[in-house]
Symmetry: C2
Subunit: 350 residues, 2 copies
């Protein structure tokens, strides 16, 4: 971990904020004693929590605000009363250079909207994309976009690929992460025109990507590639469908291991392995989404994350802030400039 890194933390968003955020921060700080944290939120609520957390207060500076964005606010509503809120202030510290990355477990739509307004898009990015880290047979895979934009044209998908590849390198340490494009079949002839066009662009050697072509839904969990590129609609459906399926299988398993006294005893004997299984399936291990393509790092935690999940997302924020991610994306975007310009005429829309 790089030294002297400062993270800007939005304390009031999430199901169990601010208590669980302090708890996660405390865990993270214990293993990263050289970091500083700017805490944005209600001082009256935060101060006693900080005093109760061992060795944390010395690394923190509370920036008080009464204003907090509600979890139910629509992005447009949130934006109207954004200024001075804990979320706004947290992101603003990244903009003005006081912090290297921002964190929030609050309202996703509001966070994306404020991040766009405050940090602006990187030059060459038409639409930022939201990432998810996905557990697989071989480790983890980065999937993007999981819901920032419903649709994506070929040029946008290529931009997602370049950003996702640099992001995967920053968070997994792999030298040359492999990239796949999500489709309904792996043959070149499959899928609609936008996908075929994007695939042709991604195959050009000028981009210098480790591009593996089309992949299918089952390839995500199989870990066939390190980065799965898709539009935000399909990505969101895939992510939530996987969550639902994992929950279903877990409920089948609970049933199987409580079906009678022998099963219960067996589960007790196998408890070590089953604990490992539960750890592997714990969403806390892969918590943290990043809106890629902005001039600054903002990490979104799941609103229902526990302290371990908050810690994971904070680690992601720190890793990304300390990495060469932004420089690599900028270089990648410069490389694709000519390639993408062919198909992605700049539009009037933001």
């Amino acid at each position: 971990m790089s030294t002297e890194l400062t993270l800007s933390i939005e304390m009031m968003g999430g199901d169990d904020a601010p208590d669980v955020v302090i708890e996660g921060l405390s865990r993270f700080s214990t293993n990263n004693a050289d970091m500083r944290f700017l805490l944005h939120g209600d001082e009256a609520a935060l101060t006693p929590l900080l005093e109760g957390a061992t060795d944390l207060a010395a690394h923190c500076e509370v920036r008080h605000t009464d204003i907090a964005v509600s979890m139910d606010d629509k992005p447009s509503q949130a934006l109207r009363r954004a200024k001075g809120s804990s979320m706004w202030n947290a992101i603003e510290c990244v903009k003005n250079g006081e912090a290297s990355a921002a964190f929030s477990a609050g309202n996703t739509g509001a966070l994306m909207a404020m991040s766009m307004v405050l940090l602006r898009k990187m030059s060459g990015v038409h639409r930022p994309a939201m990432t998810a880290i996905w557990p697989t047979m071989t480790g983890t895979t980065v999937v993007l976009d999981v819901g920032a934009n419903l649709e994506a044209d070929a040029g946008q998908l290529v931009t997602y690929a370049v950003m996702g590849e640099a992001y995967a390198r920053a968070v997994t340490g792999k030298e040359k992460p492999s990239v796949g494009l999500l489709n309904v079949g792996s043959e070149d002839s499959k899928g609609h025109g936008v996908l075929k066009e994007a695939s042709t662009l991604l195959s050009t050697s000028d981009l210098d990507l480790n591009y593996r072509g089309f992949i299918e839904g089952n390839d995500i969990s199989a870990g066939t590639v390190d980065v799965v590129v898709t539009d935000g609609f399909s990505g969101n459906i895939a992510l939530k469908t996987a969550e639902g399926t994992a929950r279903l299988v877990a409920s089948y398993l609970r049933e199987a291991l409580t079906v009678g006294p022998r099963a219960k005893l067996g589960a007790l004997m196998a408890s070590k392995g089953l604990r490992q299984l539960r750890d592997k399936m714990n969403p806390s291990n892969v918590n943290g989404g990043v809106l890629l393509g902005l001039n600054g790092v903002v990490v979104k935690s799941h609103g229902g994350a526990d302290a371990a999940g908050i810690e994971t997302a904070l680690k992601l924020a720190a890793d990304l802030a300390a990495s060469q991610y932004k420089e690599e994306v900028a270089a990648g975007l410069a490389r694709i400039g000519d390639v993408v310009a062919i198909v992605d005429k700049p539009k009037a829309s933001a």
Copy 2:
């Protein structure tokens, strides 16, 4: 089960055909002694298999052909040499009334193409849709389209809903199956224009549907609704992503239960429950896709299905053939005629 039903079986398609098809047919026939089967394929291969199967031959009539569609043929290739193939002949028997439903474990694209050519679309259907039966927390859910068409406009989604509802009633016996539209959020404001338009149409009381609005990916496995409507691209991604996730969790579980001698012993003690778990996760239980919207029933089995899976798909074919499915869809399409006409101008394409 209705009496005197005849099923038309394509014997040569699938990974282990014709052996496994005979095996599945034999299991099915044992429990449905009043049914007749027309077997399409290579007589020299089929006759000895039939002689080896107890009590099956008497219910079967072999229709010989040398021609079989390869699993790798593209639909266009398959169509060119389709006539006289086991697949073509199997479907033709439904067309000319000799059989009530056709079955195949062969090439999906070829089966869809031949079914469209031979059986034609029902009046009011612009695009047929492929179904999948999905295991859920509460039983099973029908998902369509899982890949017949990559895109769907609002009128097509409404047609899928009407066909899917009638299909769910036929295969689950529920009086008034609930219907949901797959989206990235459950709020009315979510999703792109086509989905909002379809949702508005589905909400009109004229359609007489038990429509529950938008659902998300995790709602599929949760069993929130009985019928999940989506375009073929998203449906295919959801289905394959769920398969991949189930496979991942199963591999985690295998690892957890073999991590050491205590875990192995525990697994042995819990074997009854774990066997139930394996049964629940066995894809054979939900085998069988149907291309809805044609003048005739054609059931597609997974190419890698075992005998139990073939039996499940044959039961689906028989249930559907014996049901009022076709009449109900026709009535539903008539009801929606006016509603859909507003948005779904008939196109020149097939």
